[in-house]
């Protein structure tokens, strides 16, 4: 099977041009990350001023081994930041899901799918283009927000706390886990939307994808889960396998004729 980069590129570019016109996507892409970036920097700036004092009431929660040498306040801040960064990752999952689910369905609704399928574009090229088109804005937004957070933290917070925000585990999570999670969500979106005609149904089903992240976020705050490099790499490995399997499933499920004719 030959993949034409030109055609995949054309699909990606077209998706981008359509987002540019879509207010809801632009809002979701900018507002959520901005709130997170401001929240995380603001909280650190406020709390880091009490670095001298050692509030005893923070000693109640579990402290992961990796943080054992830190002051209770620093532990609290690292855990807070970890939780915020997990939340940042949810953007990378939720946004592509939204985009991908609407993508195929809106092509069905506006009847653009028929002339599109009449071009020599293969199913693989089409889905690859749609997937990359939906992932890229989310991943780039996430990276941008992460960059801003790192810059902000290095200015406002305790240096050791700031360093924890770019420890290898987080770098790996942002660089590898984030695109893979975005891909997972996009693939679920494409898979579902080629079968379902209502974008809302597709979006609701995909809310389930957020469950593991909520678990991760709760664990971080609770102190019983620490985001370590092995944990992230394990996640990367699992996701890479799930993603590639799901990609072929999506291509296989995408029956051009059924998608075209079931929609009346």
């Amino acid at each position: 099977m030959r993949i034409s980069r030109r055609r995949v590129g054309a699909v990606v570019q077209k998706e981008w041009m359509e987002f540019r016109q879509s207010k809801s996507i632009l809002w979701a892409m900018s507002v959520l990350p901005i709130i997170l970036v401001l929240g995380i920097i603001g909280l650190n700036a406020t709390l880091a001023q009490h670095a001298g004092s050692s509030p005893d009431d923070l000693g109640e929660i579990d402290i992961p081994a990796a943080l054992s040498g830190l002051s209770p306040l620093a532990v609290f801040l690292v855990q807070l930041n970890d939780q915020m960064l997990v939340t940042l990752l949810t953007i990378a999952v939720a946004l592509p899901a939204y985009i991908a689910a609407s993508s195929i369905i809106s092509e069905k609704q506006t009847k653009t799918l028929e002339p599109l399928l009449a071009t020599p574009t293969s199913t693989l090229e089409l889905l690859l283009g749609k997937a990359l088109g939906a992932i890229s804005p989310a991943v780039i937004t996430t990276w941008l927000a992460y960059g801003l957070i790192l810059v902000g933290l290095s200015v406002v917070t305790i240096p050791t706390v700031a360093a924890y925000a770019y420890r290898p585990a987080w770098l790996a999570a942002m660089l590898l886990l984030c695109p893979l999670m975005a891909l997972l969500s996009v693939l679920c979106g494409l898979c579902i939307s080629s079968r379902v005609n209502d974008p809302r149904v597709a979006q609701q089903i995909m809310a389930f994808l957020l469950l593991p992240l909520i678990f991760l976020g709760t664990g971080t705050v609770g102190g019983w889960l620490y985001i370590s490099l092995p944990l992230v790499l394990l996640g990367v490995l699992i996701l890479a396998m799930v993603d590639s399997g799901l990609f072929w499933l999506t291509v296989w499920l995408f029956r051009r004729e059924v998608i075209l004719t079931r929609w009346q």
Binding site: A118, T119, P120, T261
Partner: protein, 313 residues
């Protein structure tokens, strides 16, 4: 160029099966303009979709541009242009953005040159930067026609190219099709407009699930009863009627007061003899009129025959 053998399509919805196209066999030569006529639900769009590899036939085989349906679909898609029943354009994108996207998918080399060529030909160049959502129906239709041609396909499928357009746009589109025909392209047009089919097409196929008839427009007009001639007489007598009926080239006689409408096999050749026979029988001829059957009459008659035929089955 386009060849179909026993092509059929059966749709199954909610456990009910419905035969949309029944064993269609047809051959269309390169450079031919073929008109596909038939009432709503006759299976025209379904046929076009099968030939454009958008849906797979349930039975039968087909070749488009020399490639077989099914195994060489991507090759076929590169060789054809299609105007779908609904234009299907991205409303948020401008005319140029829409065309650029499709030009790249078709692998067009000189994208902007091709876009300029077809937008200008169809009178949309001035509007090229406007979002298609703001376009009128006619403008969208023209843009969709431009899209079908960007990659200069040798074969073009047009599903109701002038449906729902105002007379002026209809004229523009028809002139444009005439021009394309001059370029030697094979054009397959689905239409409800008999006049359009008559004027534009080399051959016409009439479909009602099955292909009822396929012929040139002139052949179709003659096919049913030949041409008819109406003769007005001072009075019609039994002797005149008997005389006329005895002529071998008269296929049908219809009498209405003083006039006789006769189906004559070959009017230019047979009329002189007909008139001599009438005069011999004592007729006083006042007027002789030829009237060709309209394609519309032929169309309705053929469909009525087909319905009766299927009732008898």
């Amino acid at each position: 160029m386009i060849h179909a053998e026993g092509l059929s399509k059966q749709f199954i919805t909610k456990g009910q099966s419905r035969l949309a196209v029944d064993s269609l066999t047809l051959h269309i030569e390169q450079g031919e303009v073929f008109g596909f006529l038939g009432p709503n639900g006759a299976g025209k769009t379904t046929t076009v979709r099968m030939l454009c590899t958008l849906i797979a036939p349930s039975a039968g085989q087909g070749w488009v541009a020399g490639y077989p349906l099914g195994s060489q679909n991507e090759r076929i898609r590169s060789s054809i242009g299609i105007l779908t029943e609904t234009p299907g354009l991205y409303a948020k994108l401008s005319a140029v953005e829409n065309l650029t996207f499709f030009a790249r998918l078709y692998g067009v080399q000189e994208v902007s040159k091709q876009i300029e060529k077809y937008l200008s030909l169809l009178g949309l160049w001035e509007k090229r930067q406007q979002p298609v959502g703001s376009f009128s129906k006619g403008m969208r239709q023209k843009l969709a026609i431009a899209r079908a041609l960007l990659h200069e396909p040798p074969i073009l499928f047009l599903d109701e190219p002038t449906g729902g357009l105002d007379p002026e746009s209809v004229k523009v589109v028809r002139q444009f099709i005439q021009q394309l025909r001059g370029e030697g392209r094979t054009i397959f047009i689905c239409t409800h407009n008999l006049d359009e089919a008559d004027r534009l097409c080399d051959r016409i196929g009439i479909l009602q699930q099955r292909l009822i008839r396929i012929d040139t427009p002139a052949g179709l007009r003659q096919s049913l009863y030949g041409n008819s001639v109406t003769v007005r007489l001072a009075s019609v007598t039994d002797k005149i009627l008997a005389q006329v009926r005895s002529l071998p080239f008269i296929h049908a006689v219809q009498q209405a007061e003083q006039s006789l409408t006769l189906q004559v096999e070959d009017p230019p050749q047979n009329n002189p003899e007909l008139i001599r026979a009438l005069v011999t029988a004592g007729a006083d001829i006042q007027f002789v009129e030829e009237h060709q059957q309209s394609l519309e009459t032929v169309y309705f008659n053929l469909l009525a025959q087909a319905r009766e035929g299927s009732r008898e089955d």
